[in-house]
Amino acid sequence: MVMLVVAFVSFSLFNFVGDPINNMVGEETSDEERAELRETLGLMDPIHVQFTRFIINVSKGEFGISYQLRRPVSELIIERLPATIELVLISALIALVSGTLLGVYTGIKRKGFLSDFILAVSLLGVSLPTFVIGILFIYLFAVILGVLPSFGRGEVVDLGFWSTGFLTISGLKAIILPSVTLSLFQMTYIIRLVRAEMMEILQTDYIKFARARGINEKSINYKHALKNGLIPVITIAGINIGTLIAFSIITETVFQWPGMGFLFIQAVQFVDIPIMSAYLVFIAFVFVMINFIVDILYYFIDPRIRVRGDSASG
């Protein structure tokens, strides 16, 4: 359903934002050639026929030809998909692991120099725009220190369906700066979330009760509190994958990472509608998938939902 709406939006994007022909041909093209092209592209058919064809094409993964690069959009997307996915996954991992760890720490040790420091830095992290961090990193690590590459993916190994940067040293080095840059904002977000959750849970009755029963602090903190504290993290992590994909647009632009975000931002500047609409459909697809997976994860982690589900089925 959501997909259909998105498909329609991107279809209208395609059709009502400017005349595709004008965007495609050069100035010397004669009117006859234009008409001929219009005919071959099926732009003379009625709207509903075009829309049906669009849906069929989209479900086959065909989005037409980029106005700017004159290559099939699906090919461009597939070419760049691995770069973005690898970047986003690594960033998500960094953000989740370090965010949760730091969040738990600051949640348990509410006072103390280190906690205050982490929190202050995390607040600064929220205030620092991604692109500023990226520029800073490039300047520091690539130009002044010269230890990490400033752009691109390094050597990639083509596995046929997937080109990966994980198998070469230069590929691994290349992903460090962009992924850390991309993860910082999410990390600070997760720190604050986990901290708040921990603080709230540690004040709940059942934790107090556990304390009263004499269960040791470690067990309380990590077994009882953390488990509950993780629930919102999973939701957030789900949304975050989406956010990371979106924010990868900025990171990819700053680091010239050959991913989809970089493609998209160039498309926006050029009003390259086929790429924009394909990206839109793709993102919608990713979100739908993520929501689906998060719902499933919920079921396993939150016993309340499971109980409810069981009673409903039983």
Partner: protein
Amino acid sequence: MDDKGLTIWDKIKDSEIYFSFIKSPTAIVSSILLAIIFFCSFFVEFITPYNPFDPSSLSLMDAFTPPSWTSEGKVEFLLGTDGQGRDMLSTILYGSRISLIVGFSAILFSLILGVGLGLTAGFFGGKYEMIVMRLTDVQLTVPSILMALLVDGIARGIISRELHDEMAIYVLIFAIGISEWPQFARVSRAATLVEKNKDYVSASIIIGVSNFIVIFKHILPNIMRPVLVIGTIGLALAIIAEATLSFLGVGVPPTTPSLGTLIRLGNDFLFSGEWWITFFPAIFLVILAFSINLLGDWMRDTLNPKLKK
């Protein structure tokens, strides 16, 4: 309507808020900083003799003057000049005004939209509520920056080129505003649900006070606290979003640069030694966002009774 809400709210909470305000150094420092920034940005005409937006007043020969304390600096350009010979300090202040205007307008836009939808959803319930809440769910999963980029991209296609530069700022406000409203909607709906069932509200409804008045007089004041917190944090987000879009080259045009545009333009000179052209706008942006976040953080801690001991 807002004023009325504020006065009631002030009466009840003023003393307590004030008390915790003067006890928190971060709150004081950040609000002083913000006050200075706001003042300078909005009264920049009276502060600096330069108007960076008037190209005929510039002299290209002044371009790339370093900050005044360096050996090649000139006294009349405190923070140096950029590649067009614009005084950095006044350009930043003018730019920060644009950033602030966009940020505030965007937040106001999403506040009105979000609170409006949230209040009515909570109050009237039913299918309407379901639809609104479903919309917030969908909207929340779409990252703000992507939403803004899409809106901008579509606007580029629809709005004719002549109008685009003039419209850019409104498009930007809309693009950022449209992505922030669900937060407001959720909070105000939740608060409305709580308030609605309280006796005095039920009583008002029973005695026939119109829905309109009930919503604005009784419910609205009660949701001002969380809305204010979200609004403050949202303002920082909106300002950063604006800077990001402008940095990506899809925000405000370079003729009337915002902070993000300035950083983008200055970025070209980062490696050539003219660091001040990108450094000062960036630092200014960070200080601005950091101060707002600090204030928002303090507000959340103070105004959120859940976390208070």
